[in-house]
């Protein structure tokens, strides 16, 4: 009896490969919430009044359903990594449609989709607006603002693992699966990113 997501995914992929359409649907549904967390963590603040992360995810899952045969044949990445890539494509498209007025290279935009690219302070204000402790509100707001600014200033490689672990709240096993690394490599990458983040916070950059 499969107990982990990875085991479930492996089983469903086998069934999907043998032509089981229900298995395909189950496979995509299994990752709906996972993708929603990823999209919500990366959606530009300016789009929040107009764009529901669930809608971006729905479009991404529809894309994945259409391209599933290709994935099953070629297996270019892990399944979660492949889905994330599709979700990033949809996110870039969403940003392009709603925020950017000029055409940008997909490569540059995919590197930029780590965090919302607007004011880190505004984002932290949104996040802490409903804090219940007025006396701690300003302190927390300031701390979160510095944290978001420092996160945004990291290299994409460092920022990605920190966003996945702490903002999307993925486990190291899930990150390892998505990035096709060992869990030990993920832990090392996280440590390096944390130390660099700490350095930026202390230097005020």
């Amino acid at each position: 009896m499969p107990t982990t997501t990875r085991e479930l995914t492996t089983g469903l992929l086998e069934r999907a490969e043998s032509g089981d359409d229900c298995a395909r649907e189950e496979l995509l549904e299994l990752y709906r919430d996972y993708l929603r967390r990823m999209v919500a963590a990366r959606l530009d603040r300016r789009l929040a009044p107009r764009v529901d992360p669930s809608d971006v995810v729905q479009e991404a899952l529809a894309d994945a359903a259409r391209r599933m045969d290709e994935f099953l044949r070629d297996r270019p990445l892990s399944f979660s990594g492949w889905l994330r890539q599709i979700a990033v494509e949809r996110l870039i498209d969403t940003h392009r449609r709603h925020v950017h007025s000029q055409r940008r290279s997909v490569t540059r935009e995919s590197r930029d989709i780590g965090l919302p690219d607007d004011s880190a302070l505004a984002l932290s204000q949104r996040l802490v607006a409903d804090d219940t402790s007025p006396s701690n509100h300003l302190l927390r707001q300031e701390r979160h603002a510095r944290l978001m600014t420092s996160l945004a200033a990291l290299s994409p490689r460092d920022r990605e693992v920190l966003v996945m672990r702490h903002l999307e709240q993925l486990s190291t096993a899930e990150i390892a699966d998505a990035l096709e690394l060992s869990e030990g490599a993920v832990e090392s990458r996280l440590l390096r990113a944390l130390i660099r983040l700490r350095g930026r916070m202390e230097s005020g950059s």
């Binding site: 996972y34 967390r37 529901d52 290299s155 920190l162 702490h166 709240q169 996280l190 350095g199």
Partner: protein, 101 residues
């Protein structure tokens, strides 16, 4: 790329520290109290880094929790307390039944 991102940081390749950082992260995310002094007692040579890591992980976890709570509240105000993070099926509500004529 900023030089700060490329220069060698001695502690960054320490597998003991990497494992410790992950253990501390799990503990903080599950809501258990974490005292830096407890870990410094086990690894006194790494005291400086550990203290900084605990503070940083505390802040990151708080930020992640805020975002998770907001996501849950926006998607389902009734189930706003559900902050589970593992991929699982989340069925969309079925379409309304066509009205009988």
């Amino acid at each position: 790329m900023n030089v700060a991102d490329t220069h060698h940081i001695p502690d960054a390749d320490d597998p003991v520290l990497a494992d410790l950082a992950e253990r501390i992260t799990c503990r903080i995310q599950s809501g258990d109290p974490v005292e830096a002094d407890h870990y410094i007692g086990q690894y006194p040579a790494r005291a400086g880094v550990i203290r900084g890591l605990v503070a940083m992980l505390d802040d990151l976890t708080a930020l992640g929790r805020s975002m998770a709570h907001r996501r849950a509240r926006n998607s389902d105000p009734v189930a706003a307390d559900d902050e589970s993070g593992t991929p699982k099926a989340s069925r969309r509500p079925p379409p309304p039944e066509p009205s009988e004529q």
